[in-house]
């Protein structure tokens, strides 16, 4: 059943076979008696905006945590653009070019907005480590990201003093500061007002156009359908369908999963 769904293919249209970005094979993760990921095999497309949807508790966040190394899968393989990243610690995965946001937005609450971005700079070598943080070019880069998010005027405020929406933007800016090729966003529209949702969508499109791949977990179906090129639907820890939004929208299994049939 699900295997069939997983092979639903790219759907109609004469697109070339997309290059794989993040891919998993047979990913399993159980918490005690509860199986959060049940042999999940899934592939996302490089250069696209991918979406991962599914009802609550279907394993989306666990999937995120597994592929970013925050928790270790019990079994299965994870690859990114062909490279095996299974079992790698989170910072290695981050350095491989995968950045992520968290479900309930996470910033460094007691650091300034600017420092939140500078903390994403990855120095190398002893001299690089001990050099003063906030070299001019880094600061300029950080400021340009903040400007792009529209929060550059807050750079000296502490992050916890920002509003929810501002924190969401700050988190996104921080992720982008680490220059990822693939950006994993966990519910970017969660708790955000519609105007800001539009702004975030716009940003995702722009950044995608600049060459970044996205993988978005989101409950807001309008957003998913309007934004993404490729959608994967999870239910009970495994993909039940995948394909372009138009196909997914009419898939009965997806409706079934959402309606709890």
């Amino acid at each position: 059943m699900s295997e069939a769904g997983a092979e639903a293919g790219p759907g109609p249209g004469a697109r070339p076979e997309p290059e794989p970005s993040l891919a998993t094979v047979g990913l399993i993760k159980a918490f005690g008696g509860v199986t959060a990921l049940d042999s999940a095999t899934v592939t996302f497309h490089h250069g696209k905006v991918n979406a991962l949807i599914g009802p609550n508790g279907s394993g989306k966040t666990t999937f995120f945590n597994c592929v970013t190394g925050m928790i270790r899968a019990d079994a299965g393989r994870i690859t990114y653009r062909g490279r095996d990243i299974t079992g790698k610690p989170p910072h290695r995965i981050a350095r491989a070019g995968i950045g992520r946001s968290f479900q309930l937005c996470r910033v460094f609450p007691r650091m300034t907005v600017l420092d939140n971005l500078l903390a994403a700079v990855r120095p190398s070598g002893l001299a690089g480590q001990l050099a003063g943080a906030g070299k001019r070019e880094e600061t300029e880069r950080a400021r340009s990201w903040l400007a792009r998010m529209g929060i550059e005027h807050l750079e000296r405020a502490e992050a916890r003093q920002l509003s929810w929406g501002q924190q969401k933007l700050l988190e996104l800016a921080g992720v982008l500061m680490s220059e990822p090729e693939l950006v994993l966003l966990d519910e970017p529209a969660g708790g955000v007002n519609p105007a800001l949702i539009d702004r975030i969508c716009e940003l995702v499109r722009e950044l995608n156009a600049e060459g970044r791949t996205f993988l978005i977990v989101e409950h807001n179906m309008d957003l998913v359908m309007s934004l993404s090129d490729h959608v994967v639907v999870f239910d009970r820890g495994r993909p039940i369908a995948q394909g372009p939004p138009s196909v997914i929208q009419s898939d009965e299994r997806v409706l079934g999963a959402y309606l709890g049939v």
């Binding site: 918490f31 005690g32 928790i71 609450p109």
Partner: protein
């Protein structure tokens, strides 16, 4: 080589000691389970209970065991109060670290007050049956040690039955395993955590009375207990009550057996060696919990 009878004697002593460790470690595990709190003051409360038993005995001559009827409810209430009034006020983000310091400060206050009220003199309950003992398969068992073990075993069994077979126990286990999930099931996890804390402190009351039966007590004695107990809960897997009990019995026995060949002091290091080995090779502990992974 130690003789067979001495080895057997040591095994018996190890079991008797392990029982007390197991009860106390179960208490520590409860706090950790419900709140992710390492309760440094646990052993200070243990000594406090021992002092109360000693004091009641000295003043009124009642059997120290009878003080349990007062200390157990008292400590339960104190546990609930401590959780409610102190620990819930800490920021969740830094709860684990700050709660250590807070309970540490509680331990200091208890130690200081005990020293102030009862002075630093070592105390010991003098009972008619203090030096009584009997033969058991060639080993000699002191009556007071057996009573202490019996109390610990009964309390542990009671705790086990409560956790396995009561609705509160189910709520408690659910809270320990996954707090958010328990909340979704409609469990008032704050209240459960409070009661869990109370239960943990009640084990200190029982343990303290058991301790007072057979050993000397003095205000700073709690430092002597907290180290081994913390080692036990890590080895057992943080958050796992059966794990803590098994680890307690194992390590208590090991300590007792090692004393045959090594000095008393070296034998005590077994707890810390086990602790470091566990963290280096198997951080989730040996008998339990997944909880340790993230803590």
């Amino acid at each position: 080589m130690p003789s067979a009878s001495l080895v057997f004697q040591s095994v018996v002593l190890g079991v008797l000691l392990g029982g007390l460790y197991a009860l106390l470690a179960a208490g520590l595990t409860l706090y950790f389970g419900v709140m992710r709190v390492v309760m440094i003051a646990h052993s200070a409360f243990l000594i406090l209970a021992a002092y109360l038993a000693w004091y009641a005995h000295r003043e009124t001559g009642v059997d120290p065991l009878l003080t349990l009827f007062v200390t157990v409810p008292l400590f339960f209430a104190a546990g609930v109060a401590m959780q409610r009034l102190l620990l819930t006020r800490l920021r969740p983000a830094t709860l684990t670290m700050m709660s250590v310091l807070l309970t540490f400060s509680v331990a200091l206050v208890i130690e200081g007050l005990l020293g102030y009220v009862f002075s630093g003199t070592q105390r010991r309950i003098r009972l008619d049956y203090s030096s009584a003992g009997f033969e058991f398969l060639g080993a000699r068992i002191a009556a007071v040690k057996l009573i202490a073990f019996g109390m610990a075993a009964l309390a542990l069994l009671g705790l086990y039955a409560l956790m396995k077979h009561s609705r509160f126990g189910q709520a408690l286990r659910a809270t320990i395993q996954h707090r958010e999930a328990a909340q979704l099931l409609g469990i008032d996890t704050d209240r459960v955590a409070g009661y869990g804390f109370g239960l943990g402190l009640a084990t200190a009351a029982v343990g303290g009375t058991a301790l007072a039966l057979d050993t000397t007590i003095y205000p700073s004695l709690h430092w002597h207990w907290i180290g081994p107990l913390m080692a036990i809960i890590v080895v057992g897997g943080l958050g796992s009550v059966p794990g803590a009990a098994i680890a307690a019995m194992t390590l208590g026995m090991l300590q007792s057996l090692l004393q045959l060949e090594l000095s008393t002091t070296w034998a005590q290091t077994v707890f810390y060696v086990a602790l470091f080995a566990t963290l280096a090779f198997r951080p989730q502990g040996f008998f339990g919990g997944r909880l340790a992974q993230r803590f």
